[in-house]
């Protein structure tokens, strides 16, 4: 917080980008991970759903911290995007997109 120089427009855009990435990217990763955990965790399926849901907020918090800790916005975006893609792939393998999944 010391020696505050006037931030440039690029700095501001980078911060805004991180905020947006943290909010939407963080939530998306958490939602995908929760759905995946609910489908693949062992034990009764209701238990898997409960466990996945409980973990979801920690996952989101971790993703958000990562977005702000990454060296550049681009790096944060790429890693988060890849994670989301992997999760989508795993969900597809777990059959989440087959119509009428589960129930």
């Amino acid at each position: 917080m010391s020696a505050r120089a006037m931030p440039t427009l690029a700095d501001r855009a980078a911060v805004a980008g991180r905020v947006l990435l943290a909010v939407f990217g963080g939530y998306a990763v958490a939602a995908l991970a929760t759905a995946l955990l609910a489908l693949i965790l062992p034990g009764p399926r209701a238990e898997a759903v409960s466990a996945g849901t409980l973990a979801s907020f920690a996952i989101m918090a971790g993703a958000v911290i990562w977005v702000f800790a990454a060296r550049t916005l681009g790096r944060a975006a790429v890693v988060l995007g890849l994670t989301a893609l992997l999760l989508i792939g795993a969900l597809w393998l777990a059959g989440a997109f087959a119509h009428g999944a589960g129930a």
Binding site: M1, A30, A31, L32, T34, A35, L36, L37, A38, L39, G43, P44, R45, A46, E47, A48, V49, S50, A51, G52, T53, L54, S56, F57, A58, M60, A61, V64, I65, F68, A69, L91, A96, G100, A101, G102, A103
Partner: protein, 497 residues
């Protein structure tokens, strides 16, 4: 990470302060409700007869409802609280019935402690909006806590550091660290468990992935609810509710807390008896479902597994229903420290950016100062006004409960606006003196208008809040230089209930 902590904390700080204060007050929600309904006093009760009368009232009021809920009278709350709703997504109507007559109780119209409780997670906005906003603030707080911990490499040493007289900024930083770190386990627990209590709204994707839209099935399989019954079509001939209460009391070993009637106008109507949570941390109510027409048992709630039970324990920790008086007081103090951590953080932001010498304060700084005064000193004025309005508004006033809520917001807004007009040097002293006087007025007004012995403790607590705010005001007045030391200690008590 320091800037993340600073700015994320600032952006949601004012809402968080209100969430902490009203949530902390909600630990004493039933006490507040009792105080606000002085007409109700404990009497000998027959819960079964009261349930039958309440059922008759509801059948007259909305026979084709999607559901009714009847909270049976107890020694603690001697009235019957009923809700009814035409659809699962509301609107939810509510009435307080006299258990002896089954008619609306002759008691002043008020929302009692429930207003503060709901404000805590809905902010008096449409529920969905309120919950998402509160949850977003909670997530930001979680991030601020994590980044705050990362910021502190010397967290243990900070524990014992309070450089009160070094400089204003040091003092505020240390105050922020002390209340933040001292209750850190509580802060982390309360924010995470708070998110978990709203997880059905926030994070439905696990349920969606496995159960599709059949949420009720998840609840049934997880051991959170009894399975629902399909409507039979056509009207039924239900037993009097009292008969089912008697059966449930025999089967469950105690009088149930709440009776929930699903599809009361249908032949397939079910009545679910909810029992008090058994001793322990988990927020899991035993339930037995009965057919409304024959009174035969349909289902019992299953045993919750480890993960579901963990979630229930989290909800239980958040609400602290399990806590007896001493532990509840500890929770209350921790909540107050949460409010103080938020407040001291907000003030610290302005102190750290105070212009040197005669430089004018920029717009941002003035805005934050205004919001700080308006929230930290304004909200207690609103709380005091809410309680005072309960005593002062005439009983017969149309929509009286709404007027109490209006008094809360009007007083808060007026206090905030007034605070913006105070001279800067004396702003905090004045802004804290106003709620201090308002809280001191509560026991006096209560003594004159109601004057019941059982409210002595509550009135004393209100007086204590008033005195604490007054002390804070004096402390702020004494520190003239930077005018930057309105006692944090006082903030930690502004919330008393």
């Amino acid at each position: 990470m320091a800037w993340l902590h600073t700015w994320s904390g600032l952006v949601v700080g004012w809402v968080l302060f209100a969430i902490f204060v009203t949530g902390t007050a909600s630990y004493y929600r039933t006490d507040i409700s009792h105080w606000m309904r002085p007409e109700l006093s404990a009497t000998a009760l027959d819960p079964a007869a009261a349930a039958t009368r309440a059922g008759a009232f509801l059948r007259r009021t909305m026979p084709d409802a999607a559901g009714w809920s009847i909270k049976l009278p107890s020694a603690e709350t001697p009235a019957v609280e009923v809700y009814w709703w035409p659809h699962l997504d509301g609107p939810f109507h509510r009435a307080l019935l006299d258990p002896a007559t089954g008619e609306p109780a002759r008691v002043r119209d008020t929302r009692g402690g429930d207003f503060l409780y709901r404000f805590h997670f809905e902010l008096s906005l449409p529920p969905i909006w309120g919950r998402w906003i509160v949850s977003a603030c909670a997530m930001v707080l979680l991030i601020a806590l994590i980044s705050g911990i990362v910021t502190h490499r010397r967290i243990f040493a900070d524990f014992f550091t309070f450089r009160r007289d070094r400089s204003a900024q040091r003092g505020w930083l240390d105050a922020h660290n002390v209340v933040g770190v001292l209750a850190l386990p509580f802060h982390l627990m309360i924010v995470y468990t708070g998110l978990v209590t709203l997880s059905a709204t926030l994070m439905p994707w696990g349920v969606k992935a496995v159960y599709g839209d059949d949420v009720l099935r998840y609840y049934a399989e997880a051991g959170l609810a009894t399975p629902g019954a399909a409507p039979a079509g056509g009207p039924g001939t239900p037993l009097p509710l009292g008969a089912i209460v008697a059966r449930a009391a025999a089967a469950g070993g105690e009088v149930p807390e709440v009776m929930l009637v699903t599809q009361p106008g249908d032949a397939g109507a079910t009545v679910t008896a909810y029992f008090e949570e058994p001793h322990g941390l988990a927020h899991l109510h035993p339930q037995i479902a009965y057919a409304a027409d024959t009174g035969t048992e349909i289902a019992r709630v299953g045993e919750a597994g480890a993960a579901t039970r963990t979630g229930a324990v989290m909800a239980g920790l958040h609400e602290a229903h399990f806590a007896a008086a001493p532990l509840r007081l500890l929770f209350f103090l921790c909540g107050a420290m949460g409010a103080a951590a938020v407040a001291s953080g907000l003030v610290l932001w302005t102190v750290a950016r105070a212009p040197k010498g005669a430089d004018p304060a920029g717009f941002g700084l003035r805005l934050v100062r205004f919001l700080n005064l308006g929230t930290i000193a304004g909200l207690p004025v609103g709380l005091a006004a809410y309680l005072l309005a309960n005593r002062l508004l005439p009983d017969g006033l149309e929509a009286r409960a709404d007027w109490e809520v209006r008094a809360f917001f009007a007083a808060w807004a007026a206090a905030a606006l007034a605070a913006s007009l105070y001279p800067r040097q004396r702003a905090w002293a004045l802004a804290l003196a106003v709620p201090g006087c308002a809280f001191l007025a509560i026991p006096l007004v209560d003594a004159v208008l109601v004057g019941q012995q059982r409210f002595l403790a509550f009135d004393a607590a209100m007086g204590a809040v008033g005195v604490t705010l007054g002390l804070g005001s004096r402390l702020a007045a004494r520190r003239k230089p930077a005018a930057a030391r309105p006692a944090t200690a006082s903030l930690s008590r502004t919330v008393e209930a």
